[in-house]
Structures are given as structure tokens and as C-alpha cells.
Amino acid sequence: MSLADDDPYLAQWNVVGKMIRRGSSFSGREGNCCFLNTGGTRFADVSAVTGLDQIDDGRAIALVDWDHDGDLDIWLGSRTGPRVRLMRNNLDTKNRFVQFKLQGNGVTCNRDAIGARLEIHLVSDGGVKSENRKLIKTLRAGEGFVSQSSKWVHFGLGPADSIERLVVKWPDGGTPEAGGESNVEAGNIETYRNLETNRRYSIIQGSGEAKLAGPTARNVTLTPTVPKVPAPSSKARVVLVKRLELPNLSYRDFDGQDHPLSPRNGPLLINLWASWCRPCLKELQEFGQHRTEFEKLGLQVVALCADGLTGEDKGNLDGTDLTAARNIAKRRGGQLQIGLASRGLVRQLTELSHQAVYQHRPLPLPVSFLVDRRGQLALIYKGPVDPEQLLRDLALLDAMPREIERAALPFPGRGSRHLFSDREIDKAIAFRDAGYPDDCQYELRIFLTSKLPQIRAGGGDLDDDARREVGQAYFLLATVEREQGRYPTAVKAYRNALQFLDDIPNARLALFKVLWRTKQRQLAQTELDEVMRRWPHSVQVATAIGQAWLELGQLDKAVEHLDRGVQIDPTNGPARFHLAVALQQQGKVGEALEHYDRLLLDSAVAIIARNNIAWIRSTHADARYRSAEVAVKLAEINARATAHRDPAKLDTLAAAYAEAGRFDRAVATAEKAIVLARASNQEQFTTDLKARLLLYLAKKPYREPAVRER
């Protein structure tokens, strides 16, 4: 859904935006509100009597008992100054409170215990209605708007001075041990008694007790004041991070001669002044005094009179009487270049200043623009320029970007740009990883469109990095197209990728696979031959080819290349691993086992190897290959190695237990696997697991359908 820029609807938004940039308020000068709950049916407006009705552009609320005096203080965040306020609660009441800090076990429950539900049960006498005995709170991290409050859970208790009990429901998923008793309910809920009111307690999960927490007696005296916000000032020194090209400008001198306004062999300061503006005149005088210094540094100062442009004077830009200005210029400016600012010139400078900063305000007087020798606007001075500052700023003109950045920001700090790639390709990768192929393609298309002219020209204009980037973009595009089953476009994109990325085999092999899948066998073979021709002795390439064949279900061809890879480098893990897989699929289990055994030395793939061994040892139809003892041992190693969270590994472990006749364990383990598989939405796998679970319940082991040895 998109609308043209001239759409009346968008135009309205644009007008609003423009007016705000020029200084309009928009629903401003509103006081914060506070509503008091008067017994669960209605709220009363207490904005004023609480003192919370500041006229701020309020944004954030963070609640915390900052001073530990038993009531909630409020940190407020605002758009207006001061940007933060601590509103200290001076609550004067007989009401009681209790506060808790929770700590989860950090294994099955997050250490902060975020998500814990706390229930206070009050004793029902003491003025508390029986239906209101229970108070509940949840420990949260992040709520309201852009705000996070304290992790101390604060309960107001009213006049009640005794607590019957506290119940904590920990956000705990239970023990991860497969087959172990996971009585989630019982383990997650703890009850605490003997709690006193007006106390702070810390509770560690499983400890069974609430401990009094310190510091207990804090004597915090903070004197309330009304923050003094400085009045707005028009003075500013703006250092541009990104310099702006000065447009073609010119001015007229007092003798009516026109001059171009652009740097000559050095930096240029364009200054606007008016004859009636006192700070301007003082500034002019100072410029005159520093003239030699400026000249030495090559700085050219052009001071232009803007009489008649401010609306404050009746002055006459049209040149009837500039005597005053001319006299002042002579007296104060000495030998400075002096002239007249035209409406057009001031408009151009104003518009330039609007590109430099967000605010679109009228320019003040005096105002100066420092332009570097290349004709780029580098600094704007609103208000008088301090000549010493100007001299320092000249050094900035040729500084490194980092130094300019530092000077451009009012306070030191750190940028995060280096943490976040702004390349469309990286965004595309992020989108693909998260499962958004359309957005991935969108980013890639933006990138490729931006490079289209060079791409059309064959890429000759691109440097190596840029070539690689274009190639990667096409490669990713092709991958996504292939994953979406759009093979013809995928092929096209692979071919484009190869134009820019011909020094890696992956793209060509990917193309080969798609061609093969789409029955273009001859074209596929051509690509494969090309890969073989280029990389005849690479174990990686041999492995990649073998894998490709494996994916395509061509086991003999896969074995051929993988075997070749293993011959090239017998220590290469991936080559041997895939070879073993291919052999296993071929039914050559004996050979596969030999390779897997070798692989056990290689921990990177050992888990998969152990799993597949355990699976064969548990489930093979041929009793010769089965060994319950080995299977259980390896499957248990694997289950531990994957923290009992990988349903596939638990599936194998269950099968091994079943093969060992330990059906109770098999059932428990399979159940756990089902939960995990379902949670990760593996529907087919869940169905398979359920089928096996039924076998184990019937005290039968699982048998893999036989694959005839080929």
C-alpha cells in the first residue's frame, strides 16, 4: 500500500511536520495525570494533590522505592527539560507495605525471575474484606512506554498489619533431565509464611525462606527544588558531520559591483550583520582586529549587511540609504570584504541551514557560515563568533572524520554504527534467517537496483569488493528463489551471480543442483565439469560435489566424489562424514560404521555420528548391527551433550532404552522428545515420535524398515 507524494492525505502529514520543524507546538503544555483507585470500581483524579501534574511533554515512567522508605517514587522521562525528574513520594499514611526481591535458580528459571507471579494473602480481619484478601503482582522487565521499573516487587497492604502467606509461582520450565520426574507444578510454587509488614525481603528460589534484605535503615534526605531550565538561546555553534555543498552565491559591494561568493584558495567565512544590531557591530570590530591572523591562515571573511531583512527595522534593502551601514563597515570592519546581502542570498543560506539541522527557524543576526576550501559548508555560528573559537575551528576543516564527529557532538560518547551493518545484503541475510524471504528479496533488489548501471556495463566499473557484493546479492537472491521453488528465476540469478563471483564453487554448484533438479541434465553437467576443471584437487570442492549428489539422491555419484575427497585428505572430517552418510544410505552399513568410527576422533561431527550409530545399534532390522549397550551409552552421551533439549537425540535415546528393554525410561524419554518436537513445530517428527511411543508403551522396541543393501 503506498500513496503518491502529492496525495492530499500525505500532504497533511507533511504540513504538520513542517510546522513542527518551524516551532509550532502540537498538543503541548499538558500536565501529567494521576488517578487514584478508590476501591476497585472507580478512580479519582488526584493529579494536583499528588503534585504529579507537571507541565512536561511526559514520556517515561520508572517506578522504584529509590530511598527505601516504603513507598513508590517515580522517575519521569520527558521531552522537555529537565529530561528526567525524580518525584519523591512523601506519603504520609498509616498504610503498610512489603517488598520482595526474587532470585531464580538461573538454570531452569531465569535468574531475575522475570515473569514470576506473587500472591499475598492477607488475614481477613483488620478491615480487609474477604474477597479482597488476595493481592497479585507479576515481576516484569519493560512495561508502560519505553520504560523499565524496579525488579523489587512492592505491595501496599492498606491498614493490614499481618500477612497470612506469600505464594510465588516461579517462571520455571521444570528440570531438563529426560525421564526424570518433572512435577512442574509442585516444583514451581513456593509458599512463605511468617512475613511481617513494612519489611523488605529477598527470596532465593528453592531456599524455602524469605530473608530480610538490607540496607535496612537508610537516612536519605533530599531537598525538593524546582529545576531551573535555562531560557532558550538563539546562540549556537553547529559543526556539520556531513558537509553541505555551497550553492552558487554572489553579493554586491557598496559600490554596486557584483562578486561571486565562493572560497579562493582557502576557507571562507560568510557573515550576516545589520547596522542596528549591537552584537553584530562588536563582532565586526573583532573581525577587523583579527584580520592579519585570519589572512595568515588563508581565511577570507565576507561580512554582508542584512539591513531591511529582519522586520525590526524599516531599512531599505533596495539601496536608497545605506550610508549608516557603509560608515559602520568602514569604521568597524577595517579592510574586511563588506557588501550587501540580497533577499535571494539570505534565502539560500537559510535553506542551507535547514539542511544542517532539524529545526527550521529564521536565522538570527549575526550569523556566520564557515566554508572549507572545497566549497563545503562546515560550520554555522548563530550569534557572534568568538574569533579564538574560529581560529580553532579552522583546524577542524581538514580534520579526519572521527575528529569532526567528536567536534560535532556536544558531549563525548560512543557511536554504535560499527555494530550495525547498513549494507542491504546484511539486512537481507537477517531477514532470510528470520524467515522473511520477501523482505530479503526486497533489500536485495534495492541494492541491485542501485548498482544497475554498473551491472549493465558488465561490472567493469566496480572494484573487487563491490563485485563480490553484487555477486553475493545475486547468490542470495537465487537461494531465496530456489527455496521458494521458483527455479527459472533462481537459475537466472545464479548465472548473474557467477558473473561477479566466479572464484567460488558454491554458486556454480548451486546452479548445477537446480539445473539437475529441473531435468536440465546436460546444462547441469556442464557446470559440474567446469567446477571439476577449476578445482580438481580440492577436498572441499570434492566434498561439496559429493554433498550435492547426495542431496540429489545420486548415491553412487556422491560416494565417488566423497571417496575422492577422502583420498585427497584422509583427515578431512566433512568428506569422511558425508561419505559415511552416503554409504549408510546405500545400505553399506559396515563401511559406514568404519568411517563413523574414524569420525569419532573428530568432535565436530561426533554427535551426529554417535546419534546415527546409536540409531543403527538400536533399530536396525538386522540383529547383527544392533547393540543395546553401545546404543544406550552413545545416546546418553549425546543427550547430555545436547542438554536433553534436542528431540532427535532424545528419540534415539528412547529407541536405545527400548532396545535395552528399559521401557519405562524409553516412554519417559519419548514423551519429553514429543514435547520438544511439538514446541518447535516439527509436526511430522512429532507424529513419528508418537508412533514409536505407542510401541514402547506396548513394551516393543522400534525397528527401522529394512533398506536392501545395494
Binding site: L10, V15, S24, F26, S27, R29, N32, F35, N37, G39, R42, F43, V46, G51, I55, D57, A60, D73, I74, R79, T80, P82, R83, L91, N95, D112, G115, K137, R140, A141, G142, F145, S150, W152, F155, G156, G158, D172, G173, P215, L222, V226, V229, P232, S233, S234, R237, L240, K242, G311, T350, R361, L363, G383, L409, F411, G413, S416, R417, S680
Partner: protein, 649 residues
């Protein structure tokens, strides 16, 4: 009002041809109007609500004081150089709504009335001559038979409603200017005994007839001193006599609702501003945080700072494990975030640079959470481009451990929970604006369609995969349903008490979401079924059991607009708009929403009867039991953009 300027004649926009875009223009107009100077007069010197900035020293509302400055410079007149100047009175043009002009006139009269109320002892009939008719009439403005709805050691609240009141209750009638003066003096008596009086009126409904104007008015007043505090809130039906070009004069006042809250404490208002006492010693407070964002928008390169909204948040956490809570303040582009570490005496010191958290990359929100379960508070920060995950060394020093691009939008609110109960915390990030919009520097979004926009950024759930790896699992867990909205805020809660955490997401310009967790970490949006779509301008989410029935209730902030209300209830608007569109629009301008959890998977909208809609242009709006009575109260921050030009859009 800007509707008038942008569409040639918005009265045509309210025509019976209800093209979606036309409807949208009307709505946009209404929202804009809601912000008009009529609600909150821009000139602080004449606004009775803001005149007593000095109230700060009597313990009153702590409005900031601007110090005087000689830094004002003359400005070049944009008109003189051919740039179109800004209208000095944006309220001058109204959308052809006579009623809005009437409302403005009434507003001016009410303001004069407010000034009289500030000095109750001197109110007399003569002063009222220009404000009321000779036969003005009203009952007691402070009803005699008030019901005490709350009375504890800190506060007493009394209420009266026309609907509940006994009709046999004899009402004393006040007649004529003299009688009216009496009624006014009696009204503010409880305030006068508390302290200095300030008042404020809002016109929320207006109806004009040949000779009269009927308005529904919200009256707010307070009397504050160092030792006492009292306030009144009432709703009045006012009838005004129109008198040609003259100002309308008040003919009658009928009190519909009345409420007063009177502090029992000798300490004045309950909350006092201790900002300077805590932060004042830090240069970063004096030089940086004391200024509103307006100060910086003309000083920092647009490349670094291009957002006037200042949607920056706060995070509380104990960064060094000393048992004292610390504060992290997020900052707009070009200004470094600030970490203040609390000292034993309650003051706080800026350690941002040494702690390694002084990012200036336009951050909106951050959370202190233990991401690696090692017992200290780590930090996750949302920036324009993505999330930064920082590991705490236990002493309050942080190092960047991971970063995660969020190409689908600019991050606003963050909330953490272990949604899959695997023992570590996962992070949900609201991504309001599509990233491209922010880069363009558009202050506001361009929602389409306005009332049900689906062109926002896409929110992301990052699953903690341990060892500082985080993976975008949004789509995988079902949270990508309806995930193209302008999401400002979200919060986790077990709304159905089934032991897992569900997620509520507040969206600007449209429907909100309630994602129910199936216990396996997979989510389904059940907002419509549960009755919490709250189709309006969602800004904030807060959960609490406000009625103590054992089920978590929901408070969502929106924009309340008095002008929006006025326009939406106009008979003319009524006749020109079909019922369903009207329903949508009225709902849009209603304000904040409170949803009471029924315990059966649904919620009841109790916003109006509980009296919590009028939060104005609301942002963070949180439940908090501020008086320790065991009942959850509400705090609502609000206000959009206050700038030096007092003409409010």
C-alpha cells in the same frame, strides 16, 4: 484546524460519500484539533493553570522555571526573504465548524471565570457582568450531599453524581450574578482553605442553536500550599446566550458530576521534585539533561539528530550489586545515554563513560536484565538500527557482547520474558517505524489506512540461545501474525492464569494485539475474541489487578482529544457520517482504556465508568499503588510537543 489549511474545505470532506481517504482526513483533522490551543492555551502567562509556577515554593506542582537570558537574538523575518512565514495564529482558521468558533469563545469566557475563582474572597456580582446573564441560575456547584468514597490516613475523596442523587434532595437555587457569585465562592471554599487556587476548564461537547450554546465542560481546580492540598474535578452542563458578535454569556450551570480530593497530610502535595538533589551535582545533568530536546535540535547536525519526538525512556536496575537502584537515561541521536549510580545518601553519580554505556546512537529504550544468568544486571539497548547486548562484569562495567540488526523497523519499547521457559530471558522489541521512515526524518509516521494502519515496522522476538546468541524467532513462534503495525509498547502477563506468559502489544493508528501463549511458546492473536483490540492510538501497556479479583487487568494509553470529542459528537457530524464510521472515530478520540479481566478469557471495557479515559495525549501510563492502600492507582504522562511558538497545532 490544519485540515482547513490543507484541504480546501474540510466540510466537503464530511460529505455523505464516505470514501476511506475522506474519512481519514476528517479524523486527522479531529486529532489535530484535539491538540489546539483551545485545550491548553499556549501562552503560559495568561493560563490560569500555569500561572502559579511560583507554586513550586509552596509545595505545589513543580513546573520548571525558565531562567531569564540575554541570549535572545534578533531574527531574520522569513517573509522578508521570500520564505512563507508561519501563521501566527494557527487557530484562526477553523474547519468551517461554527461550533468550534463557539467553543473558542466559551473557552475564553471560562478562562476569565477561572481568574475570578483564584480570588474567591473578592468575587462579586460586578465582576460577573460580562460573563453571565442577568438571570443566570445554578444549583450548588459543590453539591451538599457528597458521598465519601475513600477516607484513609492520607486522603479523603468525596463524590456526587446527578444520576445517583436523590431527586427529593432539596436544591438551593442560586439566581442572578449575585447568587452565582455566592455559588462560586462556596465551590472553591475547600480549596481556599488549602492554599493558592488554580483552575482549568476543558470544553468537551458543544452544541449550538439559534440563540444558545450548550457545552459540556470539565472543571478542574486545586488549592495547594506547603501544608495542604485539595482539588476538585467536575463536569458541568453550561448554557450560554449568544449575543450577536459579543461574547457568549453564561445562562445556567448544571453540575453532572463532582469529585473532590483533600489531603489529610500536613506535607502539602504527596510527591516532591528531588531531581536536583539527586542529580544536580553531575555536569551531565546541568549541561545535558536540564535542556529539553528543542535546545539540541538547532545545534546538532541533522545527520545525528533528526527526531523532535524525544521518545526516550528510562531503565532502573542495580548495576553494581550494592543493593541500591540505579538509573539509565536514554537519549536522542548525538547525545550520550546516561547511567546514574545511586550512592548511600540517595544522590546519584554519572558513570556512563567508565561503565561503557554512553551511546549516542538515538536509543529509545533499554532493559537491565541478567541475560547470562551469572547474577548481575546486563543491559540490552534499542537503537535505530538494532539491539546492543552488553555484559555486566558485576561491578557496573559493561562490554558489548552481541548486537542484532533489526532491519524491519526502529526499536521503541522493549520487554523481556522467558517465553519458552527454558531458563533464560528472551527479548521482545517493538519496531514502530519502518527503518526507512526514520532515516527520512519524518517526525510522524504515515499510517495507512489511518484508523487501521498496517504499514508500520515489524516487531521482533529474539530468543536467547545462550552464550550471547540471540535469534529472531518471531515468525517461528507465531508472533508474526498482524505484525505490520505501529507498535509503541508491549508487556508480558499471564492474563489467563495458565502459568505461561502472554503478550499485549499497543499499536498507534489501529488495533492492538493480545498474543496468547499455548504453553509451548507458540502464540495466537486473540485480541478480537478477548475484546481488547482497543482500536485507537495505543502508546503504552500496563497490567495489574485493579479490582483485586485475582485476574490481571489491562490499561492502555491513547490520545484523548477534547476537540476530537466535540467534533465527533456534533449533530452535523452525526448526520453526515454513517454509524459504523462514527463509532470508529468516536472510539479513536475517547482516550485511555481500562479492560477488566473477566477470568474467562475475555475482558470488559470499563474505561468510562471507572473514570480513567481522560489522560490527554498520553504516553507511559502505569499502574502503581502510590498510597500503599493495596489498590492499584494510575500515573499517566502526557503532552506531545511543546515549543516556543505558542500557537498549538
Amino acid at each position: 484546524m490544519f485540515g482547513a489549511r490543507c484541504s480546501t474545505d474540510s466540510s466537503t470532506a464530511v460529505g455523505s460519500r464516505q470514501q476511506p481517504i475522506v474519512a481519514t482526513l476528517v479524523l486527522l483533522t479531529a486529532i489535530g484539533c484535539g491538540a489546539c490551543g483551545r485545550d491548553d492555551p499556549g501562552d503560559p502567562s495568561t493560563d490560569s493553570a500555569t500561572t502559579n509556577t511560583a507554586a513550586g515554593d509552596v509545595g505545589g506542582p513543580q513546573h520548571s522555571v525558565e531562567t531569564t537570558s540575554s541570549d535572545r537574538l534578533p531574527r531574520i523575518d522569513p517573509a522578508a526573504i521570500g520564505l512563507d512565514a508561519q501563521s501566527s495564529d494557527p487557530g484562526a482558521e477553523r474547519d468551517g465548524w461554527d461550533s468550534e468558533a463557539a467553543s473558542a469563545a466559551v473557552d475564553a469566557q471560562l478562562k476569565s471565570l477561572g481568574k475570578l475563582l483564584a480570588h474567591p474572597k473578592t468575587i462579586n456580582a460586578g465582576q460577573l457582568e460580562k460573563l453571565v446573564t442577568a438571570d443566570v441560575r445554578c444549583g450548588p456547584l459543590r453539591p451538599a450531599k457528597l458521598q465519601t468514597v475513600m477516607d484513609d490516613s492520607s486522603l479523603i475523596v468525596r463524590r456526587w453524581s446527578k444520576n445517583d442523587s436523590d431527586s427529593l434532595d432539596p436544591i438551593k437555587l442560586h439566581l442572578g450574578p449575585r447568587g452565582f457569585a455566592e455559588a462560586l465562592a462556596e465551590l472553591v471554599k475547600p480549596l481556599a482553605s488549602a492554599g493558592k487556587i488554580r483552575t482549568k476548564f476543558k470544553v468537551v461537547r458543544v452544541e449550538i442553536a439559534e440563540e444558545t450554546i450548550r457545552t459540556s465542560v470539565v472543571y478542574q481546580a486545586a488549592g495547594l500550599s506547603k501544608t495542604a492540598a485539595a482539588q476538585q474535578t467536575a463536569r458541568w452542563q453550561c448554557e450560554w446566550r449568544r449575543d450577536g458578535g459579543n461574547k457568549p454569556r453564561l445562562e445556567s450551570v448544571t453540575v453532572v458530576e463532582y469529585e473532590e480530593a483533600i489531603s489529610r497530610s500536613q506535607r502539602g502535595v504527596q510527591f516532591v521534585d528531588c531531581t536536583e538533589a539527586v542529580l544536580g551535582a553531575n555536569t551531565s545533568y546541568q549541561k545535558q539533561l536540564i535542556h529539553g530536546i528543542g535546545h539540541w535540535l538547532g545545534r546538532i547536525d541533522y545527520q545525528r539528530l533528526n527526531d523532535n519526538g524525544a521518545y526516550q525512556g528510562l531503565a532502573i536496575g542495580d548495576v553494581n550489586g550494592d543493593g541500591l537502584e540505579d538509573l539509565y537515561v536514554l537519549q536522542p541521536g548525538g547525545l550520550p545515554n546516561r547511567l546514574f549510580v545511586q550512592q548511600a545518601d540517595g544522590t546519584a553519580l554519572d558513570t556512563s563513560a567508565a561503565a561503557g554505556v554512553d551511546w549516542w546512537s538515538h536509543c529509545h529504550a533499554a532493559l537491565f536484565v541478567d541475560l547470562d544468568n551469572d547474577g548481575d544486571q546486563d543491559l540490552v539497548i534499542g537503537t535505530t538500527h538494532g539491539l546492543i547486548f552488553m555484559a555486566n562484569d558485576g561491578q557496573g562495567k559493561f562490554t558489548t557482547a552481541a548486537s542484532q540488526l533489526t532491519p524491519s523497523g526502529v526499536v521503541y519499547s522493549l520487554c523481556a520474558a522467558d517465553f519458552d521457559m527454558d531458563g533464560d530471558l528472551d527479548i521482545y522489541a517493538c519496531c514502530y517505524t519502518p527503518a526507512q521512515e526514520h532515516i527520512k526524518g519524518n517526525l510522524m509516521a504515515r499510517p495507512m489506512p489511518f484508523q487501521d494502519a498496517q504499514n508500520g515496522g515489524r516487531n521482533v522476538l529474539f530468543r536467547n540461545e545462550q552464550n550471547w546468541r540471540f535469534r529472531d524467532v518471531t515468525r517461528q513462534v507465531g508472533l508474526d501474525a498482524n505484525n505490520h503495525r505501529f507498535s509503541y509498547a508491549a508487556a508480558w502477563e499471564d492474563y489467563d492464569n495458565d502459568g505461561d506468559l502472554d503478550l499485549y502489544v499497543a499499536n498507534d493508528y489501529g488495533r492492538n494485539h493480545l498474543y496468547e501463549n499455548n504453553g509451548q511458546g507458540h502464540f495466537t492473536d486473540v485480541a478480537a475474541r478477548a475484546g481488547v483490540e482497543d482500536m485507537a492510538t495505543g502508546m503504552s501497556v500496563s497490567w495489574a489487578d485493579y479490582n483485586r479479583d485475582g485476574w490481571m487487568d489491562l490499561y492502555v494509553s491513547n490520545m484523548w482529544s477534547s476537540a476530537g470529542n466535540r467534533v465527533m459528537y456534533q449533530s452535523r457530524f452525526l448526520s453526515d457520517t454513517d454509524q459504523s464510521t462514527l463509532g470508529v472515530f468516536r472510539r479513536y478520540v475517547r482516550g485511555n482504556s481500562l479492560f477488566s479481566n473477566t477470568g474467562a478469557g475475555t475482558f470488559t471495557d470499563v474505561s468510562l465508568e471507572t473514570g480513567v479515559t481522560l489522560g490527554r495525549w498520553a504516553w507511559s501510563s502505569n499502574f502503581a499503588d502510590i498510597n500503599n492502600d493495596g489498590w492499584e492507582d494510575l500515573i499517566v504522562t502526557n503532552g506531545f510537543i511543546t515549543q516556543e511558538d505558542t500557537g498549538d497545532l
